[in-house]
């Protein structure tokens, strides 16, 4: 057994809110469980109740055709990875989701889970930051949307309160021509956590470039947007690197040294820009 907890399945959002409220802060939400169950096993978390939200219809929403891409909190990552529309219009999201873990893990793990776990190395966070995604949240006080930039407050910490449930993540449907890209430095080709990960989006119509960096600060970091009009690829790269280095503070840990992270970050950023601005990748 993994620990000493009880389990309940919610069948509606309101039902889930009630159960959370009853648990008074001692419950954890269970979607894929691929982070939560490991933390419980390793003694890092000990909730008294696991609230399974996979049976709530609303959390199974997955809509790609409307003005917003809506990814329900219970949608497994493989659905994103394999969906043709996501692969073509938001390839960075598909790539990031793909890199989160093995095929088996991706059949359980969710985008919402990856985000709410709030690891500084969360693979899907940088691209969601670039896309200005919003997290839809329900609580007894009602519904609200939190921009992903406000969500992360520290290492494995979000601004969510214990009575809140995420129902979905929403991304504005990309305007024609928007390109996205994601790159991740690992220690091995097999499944691995990121040593550094970066994502970017580029809208050719506005010539606005957004870049976000992960694994180099307590939270994933969105750099200030850049208007690339009239600038060479090299000077854009210089600017992005300067911004990135100012906004991040890589540490040395069991995975990599700060020196390696600092060395690889500019390399990934230049390669990211090659993909976004040089006619490769994206649309």
């Amino acid at each position: 057994m993994l620990g000493a907890f009880d389990y309940v399945r919610a069948h509606s959002v309101d039902g889930a809110c009630d159960l959370l409220a009853e648990a008074g802060g001692d419950a954890s939400i269970l979607a894929g469980g691929t982070d939560l169950l490991v933390e419980i096993r390793n003694g890092l978390r000990s909730p008294k109740l696991l609230l399974d939200v996979k049976s709530i219809d609303e959390l199974a929403r997955f809509e790609v055709d409307g003005p917003e891409v809506i990814i329900g909190a219970a949608v497994p990552l493989n659905v994103l990875v394999e969906h043709r529309a996501i692969r073509t219009s938001l390839p960075a999201l598909a790539d990031a989701a793909f890199s989160v873990g093995t095929y088996q893990i991706r059949n359980r793990a969710t985008l919402t889970g990856n985000v709410c776990n709030a690891s500084p190395a969360a693979d899907t966070a940088p691209v969601l930051l670039c896309l200005d995604a919003h997290v839809s949240v329900v609580s007894p006080s009602g519904r609200r949307a939190i921009s992903i930039g406000e969500l992360f407050t520290g290492v494995k910490r979000t601004c969510l309160t214990p009575d809140e449930i995420v129902t979905d993540i929403r991304i504005h449907a990309p305007t024609g021509g928007t390109r996205t890209a994601f790159l991740k430095q690992q220690r091995i080709r097999g499944h691995d956590l990121a040593v550094v990960n970066v994502a970017g989006s580029y809208a050719p119509d506005t010539e606005m470039l957004k870049v976000a960096v992960g694994s180099c600060a307590p939270t994933p970091v969105l750099l200030e947007p850049i208007d690339v009009s009239g600038n060479s690829l090299e000077s854009i790269g210089n600017r992005v690197i300067t911004l990135a280095e100012a906004a991040t503070s890589p540490i040395s840990d069991v995975r990599a040294s700060a020196a390696y992270r600092r060395a690889v970050l500019p390399v990934l950023l230049r390669r990211l820009l090659d993909r976004l601005l040089d006619g490769r990748g994206g649309l």
Partner: protein, 781 residues
């Protein structure tokens, strides 16, 4: 016999595969025994500490707890070669992860909960974490009572008052004079971190203490008889009192040789009124509590003449044994006699020190020190070629052992040793040595090629032996009883092939009883050292001859001819030249009955054995002697591609050549090479234990200890098997099980030099290490 072999040399399929692909194969992890309890461990958080106080009262009170043990009540000493270890820490803990308290309970959950309730108070001491520090005068002593430990006298020499568990020497010729007169000399230092075997099945054992000082054990082990022997010595009971079963084993790689969880399971059972107790290592315990491959610091000095002849070699090997000597002292011994590589070295001086530190201890690991030693030797050889401006293949070819030469321990090299030169040439051809790599399309990538030699002999006692029994079934089929263990390498299939060939029956009629049971399976030393196919194969040949002798004797009487007129073939005995006068084995297997009812003969049971021949102890002062039953030589050729901006390295091609003597089963040989090469790449590129400044293990899980996955394979892997026969080997075969991984890191390191012009001396060759060195070099330039 020159005629075509029917089974030996063919790619026969394993007959255990059907159990494994259906889930029917049961490993120790899967076994339950009636009344079985489950165990959990409290392990030390400190690398070195006095145990001040242990309070198990809260744990004791938990319902379902049947036994709690601490080191206090367990004054037994264990050790294969040097008895330095207790079952649970007594008085002092010597590595972070060392078991301190063990609990047996009705369920694993209760046992774990009980462990959480145990309180242990420690007084941390200053650990010694680097074996080089441990050699310094005044270093903390990991074993202050070293002088009181029993050990294998005449073979191992622990030095009391120090952290030296053993010191092996080779002294040949006059190195000082040779270095002084050499045209070119080179000194370089190298490091291998400790790594883990990572068998997919972690260590597991079930033991039941039976009345009268007996025990029955089921264990995931490579050596049932060693388990029996060491238990017998430890608990001072006759060998016959200990019965060991080994079911299917989910990988060993050396880590499951010797004695590990069995004594603990046994004493827990004794404390639990004889209920069987199962101890299964979690994956974290497999990394942090069960033993590793020793780390190694090497210093290698080579002297050569301008014409490319090696005149002298001096090596100092400082092995990081960790907290206990286990197999480490034998690794240190083998490293000395193998420690100059497969070369002619007229003047040689080797010191191999096995040094205690306060870290997880080392044990046998595939290659038994040879990967670690050849990392230094083959890299140093390559560095010497830079100094001499000679081609690395040419330099090696000029210096490799050949007929007429002598090894560094005074062993004459003969044609029967096989051909290192042919192995070298084979891999050089295979990777098109001499032709530079095609330039990669991306400008920030570079490619390079490298070569490395390998050699190894079984590092085993001079009296190592093996016995097998073949018994015939009513239908003339044969059952092989062996207690070597097939933990994936496929030796049982090879033994079936040999038995079928020798008995002249179809291989489908030859079975190996899969589970070893020391009550029924005859003695085998241990399944390590790439010796089981060799020694077991020879024993099977003898046992088959014994069966045929019995068959011929009875058939002769039945057919009224002399025994030497009987020929055996196709599962029958018949009169030479008169094939119609025949009796099928099935009619002889349990004796023969005449028409009138008279019966002669009896059940046909053949036995065979093999003992190591001609081995001698090594002279403690000079290391001279004959340690090797047979050497297996080989080489790797590697082509790599490096991303100079991220340090990512990819293996484009890796060719492995081994002189197998005789390829008993090509499918299994290739399987060993493909698997061993990938395991070697693990050591080369990704694997290594990390510790913090207090000696705490930082990466005891797959999250941060990475082993190769299906995505990490070389683009091309070539396997070249040479067959220069080994005199005394079954059909001329030598062992090849460990060899495929031995020089993989060396060859990759050599290829890296060709690619990026940097001499790497520390493993693993991680992307980080490669990139930061590239940056360092280009900033320095």
């Amino acid at each position: 016999m020159a005629s075509e072999l029917r089974y030996v040399g063919k790619p026969a399929s394993r007959d255990d595969a059907i159990d494994k692909v259906t889930g029917a194969a049961r490993y120790t992890h899967d076994l339950t025994v009636p009344g079985m309890l489950h165990a959990a461990l409290v392990t030390s958080p400190h690398a070195f500490a006095r145990i001040v106080r242990v309070d198990t009262s809260a744990a004791d009170a938990l319902p379902g707890v049947r036994a709690i043990l601490t080191g206090n009540g367990l004054c037994y000493r264990l050790g294969l070669y040097l008895q330095d270890k207790c079952i649970l820490a007594r008085g002092v803990v010597r590595y972070q992860g060392e078991p301190v308290v063990a609990v047996a309970a009705d369920t694993l959950d209760i046992a774990r909960e009980a462990c959480r309730l145990v309180e242990v108070e420690y007084e941390p001491l200053d650990p010694v974490l680097d074996p080089r520090d441990a050699l310094e005068k005044g270093a903390p002593l990991v074993h202050p009572d070293l002088h009181t430990y029993a050990h294998m006298e005449g073979v191992y020499f622990p030095e009391s008052g120090t952290n030296i568990a053993h010191h092996q020497k080779v002294r040949k010729g006059d190195v000082d004079a040779a270095f002084a007169s050499a045209d070119v000399t080179l000194t370089a230092k190298f490091y291998n971190p400790p790594v883990q075997h990572v068998p997919m099945e972690t260590h597991a054992a079930i033991a039941q203490a039976l009345p009268g000082g007996r025990a029955e054990i089921w264990t995931s082990s490579q050596s049932p008889y060693t388990v029996r022997h060491l238990m017998s010595v430890c608990f001072d009971v006759p060998h016959a009192n200990i019965r060991v079963h080994v079911p299917y084993v989910g990988g060993g790689f050396g880590g499951k040789a010797g004695l590990h969880l069995e004594p603990l399971a046994y004493v827990l059972s004794k404390a639990a009124a004889g209920r069987p107790v199962k101890v299964v290592a979690t994956r974290e315990e497999e990394f942090n509590t069960l033993p590793s491959r020793q780390g190694l610091h090497s210093t290698v000095e080579i002297g050569a003449d301008r014409d490319g002849t090696i005149v002298s070699l001096k090596a100092t090997y400082v092995w990081d044994a960790g907290a206990y000597a286990d197999y480490g002292v034998n690794v240190g011994r083998a490293a000395a006699y193998s420690g100059a590589g497969p070369y002619v070295v007229p003047n040689c001086w080797i010191d191999s020190y096995v040094v205690y530190t306060n870290k997880i201890f080392g044990t046998a690991y595939r290659g038994f020190g040879h990967l670690e030693v050849l990392w230094g030797i083959e890299r140093a050889i390559d560095m010497m070629t830079r100094k001499l401006d000679m081609d690395p293949v040419e330099f090696r070819r000029a210096n490799l052992l050949r007929e007429g030469e002598t090894t560094i321990t005074g062993e004459p090299f003969t044609a029967g040793h096989g051909s290192p030169v042919e192995c070298l040439d084979a891999v050089a051809r295979a990777i098109d040595w001499g032709t530079p790599s095609q330039p990669p399309p991306e400008p920030h990538k570079v490619r390079g090629k490298g070569i490395a030699m390998l050699h190894k002999a079984p590092a085993m006692p001079t009296y190592t032996s093996c016995a097998v029994v073949i018994k015939l079934d009513e239908d003339g089929a044969a059952d092989l009883l062996v207690s070597g263990v097939d933990y994936g390498q496929g030796t049982y299939t090879v033994l079936r092939q040999i038995a079928a060939e020798e008995l002249k029956i179809p291989i489908e009629k030859v079975h190996v009883t899969w589970e070893c049971d020391t009550a029924f399976s005859p003695y085998d030393w241990q399944t390590v050292a790439s010796r089981f196919a060799y020694m077991g194969g020879n024993a099977i040949i003898e046992a088959a001859a014994d069966c045929l002798r019995q068959i011929r004797d009875v058939a002769a009487r039945a057919l009224d001819v002399a025994p030497n007129e009987i020929v055996c073939d196709d599962g029958a005995a018949f009169v030479k030249g008169q094939p119609d006068r025949r009796i099928a084995y099935a009619q002889l297997a349990l004796g023969y009955t005449f028409e009138n009812g008279n019966s002669i003969g009896g059940p046909v049971i053949g036995h065979g054995r093999y003992i190591a021949t001609g081995l001698t102890h090594l002279d403690p002062k000079t290391g001279q002697g004959l340690p090797a039953q047979y050497w297996t030589y080989g080489a790797h050729g590697v082509e790599v591609e490096v991303d100079t901006q991220t340090g990512e390295i990819e293996i484009l091609d890796i060719a492995t050549a081994l002189d197998a003597g005789k390829v008993l089963n090509p499918k299994l040989c290739v399987g060993q090479i493909v698997g061993g090469v990938v395991q070697g790449l693990g050591s080369a590129l990704w694997e290594g234990f990390q510790f913090d400044e207090n000696g705490r293990f930082l990466n005891p899980a797959f999250v941060d200890y990475k082993i190769p996955t299906a995505k990490d394979l070389p683009k091309r892997s070539q396997q070249i098997l040479l067959e220069n026969p080994q005199p005394g080997g079954p059909y001329g075969a030598r062992g090849i099980a460990e060899h495929p991984m031995i020089s993989v890191p060396s060859a990759v390191g050599n290829a890296l030099f060709d690619a990026v012009g940097i001499e790497f001396t520390t493993l693993p060759l991680s992307y980080e290490r490669i990139l930061l060195r590239i940056r360092e070099e280009s900033e320095g330039a």
